[in-house]
């Protein structure tokens, strides 16, 4: 089904600058949250008054493979001093990689006002801004999550249909070497799939191409050229995937919130699901 590109979200609605955060460190109306791929980084020093979430224990279901369950999400938000209407400013290391993963999950549960600190932890540190090891203890808030929004999350059957019937455009945001099957996982990380390659029909647009060297997002026109040049224009539904769904949440953020594509989903099962399926079709260039 064809879809229309909606008005691109203004960057100010979903991004704040490091300057803005520096001016709002003690703002009781907002909550700043750090989410890193390196879960030890927060403890070494973080933005003053920021709470820290660990993606591998707090932003997932720790029993089965899934995103954070609704009840656990409500608990996390409440304990972080986040009410339903609290603006949440997320930031993290590596171009806001896992901050975007958190952003996506907050949107799955319907949190209205979520923004990323453009440039993330890297830019904050490179600018020589204050860091603290003091962990804030926010007063507990009351939080009621919405039912999961499946319009931004793709599951396996939909991806199979997207691949076989070209019902949606697939964007594989992993590195070219992962896409080609030359390697099964990024160098230094565990190999968690049985086969290398990619979902048939997917385009390869590595996620970090959306960022500048300082970790900030590229401008809208550059982003439009990057994705549009590969035929990802927002005129058709888009499903982004990577290895475990976190890099693709970053691309999802770009397509959905910076370029304003109306129908974009993150397939968090990603290659660690597809690449382990018995008899699933695999394409290798």
């Amino acid at each position: 089904m064809a879809t229309q590109t909606s008005q691109a979200t203004t960057k100010s609605a979903v991004l704040v600058s490091t300057d803005w955060v520096a001016q709002h460190l003690s703002d009781p109306a907002i909550r700043i949250v750090e989410v890193d791929v390196d879960t030890k980084a927060y403890g070494e020093g973080h933005v003053p008054n920021a709470v820290g979430w660990a993606w591998d224990t707090q932003l997932c279901d720790t029993l089965r493979r899934d995103i954070i369950p609704k009840a656990k999400f409500e608990q996390l938000m409440a304990e972080s001093g986040i009410g339903t209407a609290t603006p949440v400013i997320l930031y993290g290391d590596n171009n806001n990689w896992f901050a975007a993963w958190a952003f996506w999950q907050l949107k799955v549960y319907g949190h209205k006002d979520v923004r990323l600190m453009d440039g993330g932890r890297k830019k904050w540190i490179a600018e020589g801004r204050e860091l603290t090891t003091e962990v804030p203890k926010p007063a507990r808030a009351s939080y009621k999550a919405q039912e999961p929004d499946t319009s931004i999350r793709a599951f396996l059957p939909e991806v199979m249909k997207a691949s076989s019937a070209r019902a949606a455009q697939l964007v594989d945001v992993r590195s070219p070497q992962e896409f080609s099957g030359e390697i099964l996982a990024p160098p230094g990380l565990p190999e968690t799939c049985q086969r290398g390659g990619h979902v048939p029909g997917a385009a390869n647009i590595p996620w970090a191409k959306a960022c500048n060297d300082d970790g900030t997002f590229k401008g809208v026109e550059e982003l439009r050229a990057l994705y549009g040049g590969a035929g990802i224009t927002g005129k058709q539904p888009v499903i982004a995937y990577c290895r475990i769904g976190e890099r693709s949440s970053h691309t999802w953020f770009v397509l959905k919130h910076l370029l304003g594509y109306s129908n974009v989903k993150n397939y968090d099962g990603s290659w660690t699901e597809w690449g382990n399926l018995v008899a699933a079709p695999v394409e290798k260039p």
Partner: protein, 84 residues
């Protein structure tokens, strides 16, 4: 409240793989993180009293790790997968 100082970043190759080295000083400690550039996941971290100490330890550890990275071969039916 301390501020990070002496921030530096550079790229190099270890065992044929590109890596990205970031070092900064916070207080009296230098922190070095080496990531795999794509996707940029950290692979080793080290601390030291000097930049050289932190980076040399990190580079040594990262070298050992990157030497183990394999390029894909035809998989067997029982590939050992850490964590499974």
């Amino acid at each position: 409240m301390p501020k990070p100082e002496d921030y530096s970043e550079r790229k190099t190759q270890l065992a044929g793989w590109p890596v990205h080295i970031v070092t900064y000083r916070l207080g009296t400690t230098y922190y070095t993180t080496i990531d795999n550039t794509d996707p940029g996941a950290w692979v080793v971290k080290a601390q030291g009293a000097t930049k050289e100490a932190a980076e040399s330890q990190a580079l040594k550890d990262a070298q050992a790790l990157m030497e183990k990275v394999k390029k894909s071969k035809p998989p067997t039916g029982c590939t050992s997968v850490p964590g499974f």
